[in-house]
């Protein structure tokens, strides 16, 4: 395999090199052998049909960063644990497991990390509403001198702004 993303640090919007899920551990091992010895982070993104798992690894010699990603099917989100290569991946995998519902095979520590109780569905999947988003007022609603009717002084046609991804009717956000 060619060095995944070794060299230039991937900037915003840069495509992250992808390997098949079956080659995930091997890809991480090759990076580690190439001097990328420091796991920066590991996380996931819900892509709908699949969940993308992303790792960023740095080389402590010069702090160059490499990124690598893989996809697991949403219907069977299982992936080999990175802890065999980077023991520090344990924390990130525990978080990714509880937030995105991904099972890491070989992860020795499966204690919950951030959530007191695991909700029925992992909270960071796109279809889930975050209750705190419904309960808490959005700071972005503030306007200079907004009237009591929610319209801006001096520009009565302007409607009050709404936060992205939060349902208009609070009740819709409740599971």
């Amino acid at each position: 395999m060619t060095a995944v993303g070794a060299g230039a640090p991937p900037g915003p919007g840069a495509a992250i090199p992808e390997v098949p899920a079956s080659a995930w551990e091997q890809a991480l091992r090759e990076l580690s052998e190439a001097g990328f010895d420091c796991l920066d982070f590991l996380t996931a993104v819900d892509r709908g049909h699949c969940r993308q798992v992303i790792a960023r690894i740095r080389r402590s010699a010069d702090w160059q960063a490499a990124m690598v990603s893989t996809q697991v099917a949403a219907a069977a989100p299982v992936l080999a644990s990175a802890t065999g290569v980077f023991p520090g991946a344990s924390w990130h995998e525990r978080e990714t497991a509880e937030m995105f519902g991904i099972e890491f095979e070989g992860l020795a520590d499966s204690r919950p990390l951030l959530l007191r109780a695991q909700p029925a569905k992992p909270p960071l999947l796109r279809g889930e509403f975050l209750p705190a988003r419904v309960a808490r007022p959005w700071p972005g609603a503030a306007e200079p001198e907004v009237g009591a009717d929610g319209r801006r002084a001096g520009n009565p046609s302007r409607r009050r702004q709404r936060p992205l991804g939060v349902p208009d009717e609070p009740a819709q956000g409740r599971p």
């Binding site: 700071p139 972005g140 503030a142 001198e145």
Partner: protein, 114 residues
């Protein structure tokens, strides 16, 4: 161990450059920026009508919620926000990580190179 550069320790604000446009507040994924402002009329010499300008009253970032994504810095059209290599001091006080203009202004004076 050397600190990886560029250091993203905290976010500094230049209150003079901020126009209270609310873009950063609305784009922040964790809703951790709170901004207060009001409008004032300014009469320019020679202008027929006074202009309305936003005046910044308060600006606070809750570093207990901030995830250092930098989106606020990216979206600010007026370069009023910048990374600082300094970091927010730890505190045992609940709410002690909500830092206002005085603190954020100090961090703008020492922006990191990115």
């Amino acid at each position: 161990m050397m600190t990886p550069e560029p250091a993203h320790g905290a976010i500094g604000l230049d209150p003079q450059a901020c126009t209270s446009c609310m873009l950063c507040v609305r784009e922040c994924p964790t809703w951790c920026i709170e901004l207060g402002s009001h409008t004032e009329e300014v009469s320019d010499p020679g202008a027929r009508r006074p202009r309305t300008v936003n005046v910044l009253d308060s600006f606070a970032i809750d570093y207990g919620l901030c995830m250092y994504c930098g989106i606020c810095i990216e979206v600010c059209p007026f370069d009023a926000l910048a990374w600082s290599p300094d970091a927010a001091d730890p505190t045992a006080d609940p709410g002690g990580l909500v830092l206002g203009i005085d603190q954020l202004r100090g961090w703008f004076a020492t922006p990191s190179d990115s």
